[in-house]
């Protein structure tokens, strides 16, 4: 017997504030204008890997299906290549809407535990706050420590190649004014 699952979206499950929230974000104003042509999904190099294609995410966002959108892998697979944004016939800033969705998914912790992409974003964020710069090797190490430590050992060949070519460094890059940076970031957020 097949598993029973809901095939139709119900109006009652819509979060009306969600669409308004995205449209109020810088770059989200044009969300209403989408007429579902599918150009974005067509040019997106990652669309074949997405659970909801860009076109569907725009539709679901506008309709207020917050859970589906913020839990999709689409927003994380978006590589910010802007191909969709420049080809959208309605001038919708799709890539920037994807960023707005990423920010909300992180804020509300709506991503699978140990999913590498948001984990990388958070480690990147923490590292910049701490030192003002990113040290690539440490980023990768921290990413893998928080997702799949075994993968680190699987990367031995890449590690050796980078060491051989002098591109591997465990030095922690930092700026002098780390305190100033933190105060600046907090003041901008209104803290």
């Amino acid at each position: 017997m097949q598993a029973i699952r809901q095939m139709i979206k119900l109006d009652a499950e819509r979060d009306r504030g969600f669409a308004a929230d995205i449209m109020a974000a810088p770059g989200g104003e044009q969300l209403e204008r989408c007429f579902q042509c599918g150009t974005c999904s067509g040019v997106c190099p990652l669309s074949i890997y997405m659970d909801y294609t860009p076109r569907r995410v725009i539709y679901l966002t506008r309709a207020g299906f917050k859970q589906e959108v913020l839990k999709s892998n689409t927003i994380w697979l978006c590589a910010s290549c802007y191909a969709c944004t420049v080809d959208c016939p309605k001038g919708i800033h799709i890539t920037d809407i994807m960023y707005a969705l990423k920010q909300r998914a992180i804020r509300e912790r709506l991503y699978p535990r140990a999913f590498p992409i948001p984990v990388l974003a958070r480690e990147f964020f923490k590292m910049v706050r701490s030192t003002g710069r990113t040290s690539e090797s440490w980023l990768v190490i921290r990413l893998l420590m928080n997702t799949n430590i075994l993968k680190l050992f699987g990367m031995w060949r890449l590690g050796l190649n980078l060491m051989r070519t002098g591109r591997f460094s465990l030095k922690t890059e930092r700026i002098r004014q780390t305190g100033e940076l933190r105060r600046m970031l907090d003041a901008a957020s209104g803290k």
Binding site: A25, L46, R133, N161, A187, A188
Partner: protein
């Protein structure tokens, strides 16, 4: 004329060959640059995924430092370039962003009045220096070398200021001036996957495989890039099996500045050519001229 210089984190890390070769070429062309004092990470794509206001403020600190130093800001890294240009646009177009960013800058005694021109080296080389001056310095033309020029996404999208959005040619013309033959490369602005090679490696590596396979199909001996992450992605995962139906494609991937440096007769070591994981040495033997040590 002196330019400000914003290298970004990658050019001090895995992308150091880009900085090495760029500085060599700039020296040969007698272009003066001044690295921004105490510059911070631009945030790239990862930071914007977490907090938008902080992301713009982070980038704006560099703009404030650049404005104080003076001069146009040379920004070779594609991600840094896009972040800074996007920040400038958002500061102009969105009062909410402008107010928050200025609140942040003012809190630490910094100010930014929107006067910095953020420029990619391709823009500076093409429009300030000119192809004639670039051609004049060539000592060993890259004759016989077939190059696929790969621009990637962030330098041409969404703000295509100095080149065409879908089929840019500034890098092509510079390398032609150095004697190389540029092959037709329809995927020259198709995404390499960016940081996905580090997080979802199969996905990212597959996109890179497609790029190398097409370059090879078009007859390229090597790929020239302008972005440190593109170079890393195209270079570092060549032995990854792209899928059960495809053979891995091996093709060297260099920075366009490294090719310019070779045409200028500069040392391969100083141009960081030893830093390629897949060596460009066999492809460079195609050149009819002799390499100096």
């Amino acid at each position: 004329m002196k330019y400000g210089y914003f290298p970004g984190c990658s050019l001090k890390g895995t992308g150091r060959a880009y900085e090495e070769s760029l500085l060599e070429v700039l020296r040969a062309l007698e272009i003066e640059i001044q690295e921004l004092p105490d510059w911070n990470c631009c945030g790239a794509t990862a930071y914007m995924a977490v907090d938008e206001i902080k992301a713009f403020t982070l980038a704006a600190r560099n703009l404030a430092i650049a404005e104080k130093q003076g001069g146009d800001l040379m920004t070779p890294c594609a991600a840094c370039y896009l972040v800074l240009v996007k920040t400038q646009h958002y500061l102009k177009e969105y009062p909410k962003v402008r107010d928050a960013v200025h609140r942040g800058l003012n809190a630490v005694g910094l100010r930014y009045e929107g006067k910095v021109k953020v420029r990619h080296p391709l823009d500076i080389l093409t429009n300030d220096i000119g192809l004639d001056a670039i051609r004049a310095r060539v000592k060993q033309p890259l004759k016989g070398l077939k190059v696929a020029t790969y621009y990637g996404c962030q330098v041409v999208r969404p703000y295509a200021t100095f080149d065409h959005q879908d089929y840019p040619t500034t890098m092509d013309r510079i390398l032609e001036a150095c004697g190389a033959e540029i092959v037709h490369y329809p995927l020259k602005t198709k995404c390499c996957g960016g940081s996905l090679t580090g997080t979802l490696t199969e996905v990212g590596a597959r996109l890179c495989h497609i790029l190398r396979a097409e370059a090879k199909r078009q007859g390229a001996d090597l790929i020239a890039t302008l972005c440190p992450l593109c170079q890393f992605n195209l270079d570092a995962y060549q032995d990854k099996q792209p899928g059960q139906w495809f053979e891995p494609v091996k093709l060297p991937v260099v920075y366009f500045t490294q090719l310019m440096g070779l045409a200028y007769g500069l040392s391969e070591k100083k141009l960081g050519l030893g830093r390629n994981i897949v060596s460009a040495a066999p492809a460079l033997r195609h050149r009819s001229a002799v390499t100096t040590a």
